[in-house]
């Protein structure tokens, strides 16, 4: 049986690469907001009503896409409800949605609204989404069910959050990703009693320095592995656990 993956930012570079490479391995529920689906067959498929394999054709038509603004709490609830309504379970959560801003001063009061939105999507949403899945499914699962199914969450962070660089142009972004790394460690601790692992992947710039496929491969490696509370760095030097 395929593992069910809920991925946010499904139509971004990372999400698209994941959907393209692993649609056969996962039942994917993809959440997107601003991106326009690049292939018509993703949100729209053609079916023959008189020749339908009920259990497979309906579900193997590609990722099940949900358009949602995840910074709205009711949208988060809707996403979890829809994902569970469609597949009855969520085995892997990939928190891939993020916004990125650069090049302005923290002393600029007029940009504070952008900072709040960035922190919300890049840091708070991964925490809230996991908590909602726990509320609606993981916490209700039978004893050891989450462990047997190797259920886990992967937060997509960035190398920008691994070191303090005062002159970085990615001020807000690096602050949010740094917070996400810390959050990952705390989530790993708090979800362990449920049998849920929580990890982060911290890629360098892609596709400029590495390929999106490298990041996807690292995420799938985390899903297949046993690590918990780890930040996996993916950069031009390879893939490794951040010490």
């Amino acid at each position: 049986m395929k593992r069910v993956c809920l991925i946010t930012g499904a139509l971004g570079r990372l999400g698209q690469a994941f959907c393209d490479a692993y649609a056969d391995e996962y039942e994917i529920v993809g959440v997107y907001c601003n991106s326009t689906p690049k292939a018509a067959e993703r949100p729209e498929t053609v079916v023959d009503p008189l020749d339908l394999d009920r259990r497979t054709a309906a579900r193997n038509a590609g990722p099940f896409l949900i358009k949602a603004d995840l910074t709205a709490d009711w949208e988060l609830e809707r996403v979890v409800e829809l994902a569970l309504a469609r597949h009855d379970r969520i085995d892997l959560l990939i928190n891939g949605a993020a916004v990125w801003t650069t090049g302005f001063s923290l002393a600029d009061e007029s940009r504070m609204g952008e900072f709040e939105r960035l922190m919300s999507l890049n840091m708070l949403v991964p925490m809230k989404l996991a908590a909602l899945i726990a509320k609606h499914f993981w916490r209700k699962e039978k004893k050891d069910g989450n462990t047997i199914w190797r259920r886990n969450a992967v937060n997509v962070s960035s190398t920008a959050g691994l070191q303090v660089a005062a002159k970085s142009q990615d001020r807000f972004y690096s602050v949010a990703k740094g917070a996400l790394n810390h959050l990952t460690a705390h989530m790993a601790h708090d979800y362990a009693p449920l049998g849920i692992r929580v990890n982060a992947v911290a890629p360098t710039s892609f596709p400029r320095v590495i390929g999106a496929a490298d990041v996807v491969k690292a995420i799938v490696g985390i899903d297949r592995g046993t690590c918990n509370g780890c930040v996996t760095v993916v950069d031009e030097h390879g893939t490794r656990i951040h010490k």
Binding site: P43, E44, V46, L52, K67, A85
Partner: protein, 273 residues
């Protein structure tokens, strides 16, 4: 019961009872996921069968409109709608009884992977020209059915014995509670539709969306249909028909209350006001 466009030749099988493979002529139906899962299809049935369906619609409409419940005529009694409706009786044998066929029911369920009970409510809807936008709503109200299954097991609503939204009409009648699982709207007997004419079915991502700002629409083009699952997110609405009357057949499939509670919790189910 009603005159149709062409009477079947004696000894020949009426079109509405023919195998679906011979009367469903468009085998390329489109499944969309935004703003929620739905199916649309045009040129659904063969021209001959469509003509019979439209003629049956006209025959009922010719009996006039009523603002009070009248089982023989289009009546204005619907929740969430300003339409005049005529309920297809459970013993229907006209071309419209096509929509009480088990094989059609099961195909629709398969398209959206729905486990339905076989309880079906079907009615013709007529919006007079100039009707305003409806309200954005979803269809998870409790519905009531008595058991009077047809030969193939489909159990149509019998409004003489049991009110669809409030339950049995007399104390000696027992009814079951179910919830709408899916809605199919088949458009027929309309004038040629053009953008700007209105009368579409609007689909919405949010219950707070303005009716005139749908995320997607299904225009009332003859011999086309829209079909969608009833979920907490399947918000939809009738859009005002400025140019001409708007006619359709609406068919509801149903699922058990338990399944709805399992999927989405008790709170999503409501009683019709």
């Amino acid at each position: 019961m009603f005159e149709t466009a062409a009477r079947p030749v004696p000894g020949e099988q009426p079109l509405h009872r023919a195998p679906l493979a011979s009367i469903v002529v468009n085998r390329r139906w489109t499944r969309r996921v935004f703003p929620f899962r739905h199916i649309i299809a045009r040129d659904v049935f063969s021209p001959g069968l469509y003509a019979e369906l439209a003629a049956t619609f006209r025959a009922v409409l010719a009996l006039g409109l009523s603002d009070r419940r009248d089982p023989l005529r289009f009546s204005r009694t619907l929740a969430n709608s300003n339409a005049y409706a005529w309920h297809l009786p459970p013993d229907a044998d006209s071309p419209l009884s096509l929509f009480y066929r088990r094989d059609l029911h099961d195909i629709l369920c398969g398209l959206l992977d729905i486990d339905a009970t076989g309880d079906v409510a079907a009615s013709l809807h007529h919006h007079r020209r100039g009707d305003l936008d409806g309200s954005v709503h979803r269809d998870l109200g409790l519905s009531y059915f008595t058991d009077q299954p047809r030969a193939d097991g489909i159990n149509p609503a019998d409004l003489k014995r049991c009110n669809y939204t409030t339950g049995p009409t007399t104390a000696d009648v027992k009814a079951r509670e179910v919830v709408r699982a899916a809605t199919m709207i088949f458009y027929l007997n309309n004038t040629e539709w053009h953008p700007g004419d209105g009368g579409e079915t609007g689909l919405y991502a949010s219950p707070t969306a303005r009716p005139d700002k749908p995320a997607a629409v299904a225009p009332p083009i003859n011999n086309s249909l829209i079909f969608f699952e009833s979920t907490p997110d399947s918000y939809h609405c009738f859009l005002g028909n400025r140019a001409s009357d708007r006619n359709s057949l609406v068919m509801w499939l149903h699922r058990s209350v338990d399944e709805v509670v399992r999927n989405w919790g008790q709170n999503v189910i409501y009683r019709w006001s």
